[in-house]
């Protein structure tokens, strides 16, 4: 039981890092000398 909970916590940590990558990727796309809003940057990439 303890091991299962432990492995679930590790998987949750890895998923959390992956989500952080997605958020920081889109945020960093918008940052720069020519600032573009985050939602606009996300729409351009999705399009």
């Amino acid at each position: 039981m303890g091991n299962k909970r432990n492995s679930m916590a590790k998987r949750a940590t890895i998923t959390g890092i992956a989500v952080a990558i997605v958020i920081s990727f889109v945020t960093c796309l918008s940052l720069g000398r020519y600032h573009i809003p985050v939602w606009q940057a996300a729409k351009i990439v999705l399009n």
Partner: protein, 270 residues
């Protein structure tokens, strides 16, 4: 997706031509260096090992510097870095075979010898390079930067890196067994030379591709696996994916800081 166009041509150009390839490069390079660092640390049972242990970075530096010295294009510089990086590792792997001593210690010593030899060649190239243009380019390249990464570079190197990273992720449980020691791994049914060779080749290709994309970047491959160890523990089944993702996250953030913090861009190694 067909979204309503609420942006200008300039915005689309900045995002798609400049920032997206650069951030994709940061994602790939950070993930690759961190994953290969975690692999080497597991294989050599040494937490102080970094991805350039077998001489791939110094070899790539020699290749790129030689191409800069011969006034080649940026694509040729990247290819020269890739080829020389892999050649340096080939020399490193050949030395233990020459002495018929396949131990990890001999491999590490061979890596140090080849790195030293490549550093000496790099010194000669710097010595004969033109002071005004070539030497500056060589020094800037060795500091590492994602400024020159283009979409075509990502399309060329990215698929190779993703496939090799996938192979490493799939064999991560074997690295757990290899980290127990050769005799224990053998008694558990692992073909030690083949598994270790496959892991070393994959980690080396990842490092060589990362170095050819953006020059030499230290630290990521050494520290990110340790951060991963703090978060998910020693088990490579969790450590390797966590390290790769942490490296990618770290590099995305660092590259954004490097290009925005000051008026001119800060090289990534700094």
């Amino acid at each position: 997706m067909n979204l309503e166009v609420t942006w200008t041509e300039q915005m689309a150009s900045v995002i798609l031509d400049i920032r997206l390839p650069r951030l994709a490069g940061a994602f790939l390079v950070g993930g690759a260096l961190s994953l290969s660092g975690a692999t080497y640390q597991g294989l050599f049972k040494n937490p102080l090992v970094s991805p350039d242990l077998l001489g791939v970075s110094s070899g790539a530096c020699v290749g790129a510097s030689l191409a800069i010295l011969l006034n080649r294009t940026s694509l040729e510089i990247q290819l020269a870095a890739l080829v020389m990086g892999l050649l340096a590792v080939f020399f490193t792997i050949t030395i233990p075979k020459f002495f018929r001593n396949p131990s990890n210690l001999m491999l590490v010593l061979a890596g140090i010898i080849v790195s030293g030899f490549m550093s000496a060649i790099l010194g000669i190239i710097k010595y004969v390079a033109d002071l005004e243009s070539q030497l500056a380019s060589i020094v800037f390249w060795t500091m590492g930067s994602l400024a020159s990464v283009k979409g075509q570079d990502i399309l060329l190197v990215g698929p190779v890196m993703l496939v090799v990273a996938l192979i490493l992720i799939l064999i991560r449980w074997r690295i757990n067994l290899l980290s127990l020691g050769d005799s224990e791994a053998k008694s558990l049914g692992v073909n030690v030379p083949r598994s270790r060779g496959l892991a070393i080749v994959c980690a080396t290709i990842l490092t060589a591709c990362a170095v050819c994309l953006c020059g030499t970047i230290g630290w990521v491959g050494l520290i990110m696996p340790h951060l991963g160890r703090l978060l998910v523990g020693e088990d490579n089944r969790y450590l390797m994916p966590a390290s790769a993702l942490l490296g990618a996250l770290f590099m995305i953030i660092v590259d954004t800081i490097a290009r925005n913090l000051t008026g001119s861009e800060i090289p990534l190694s700094i």
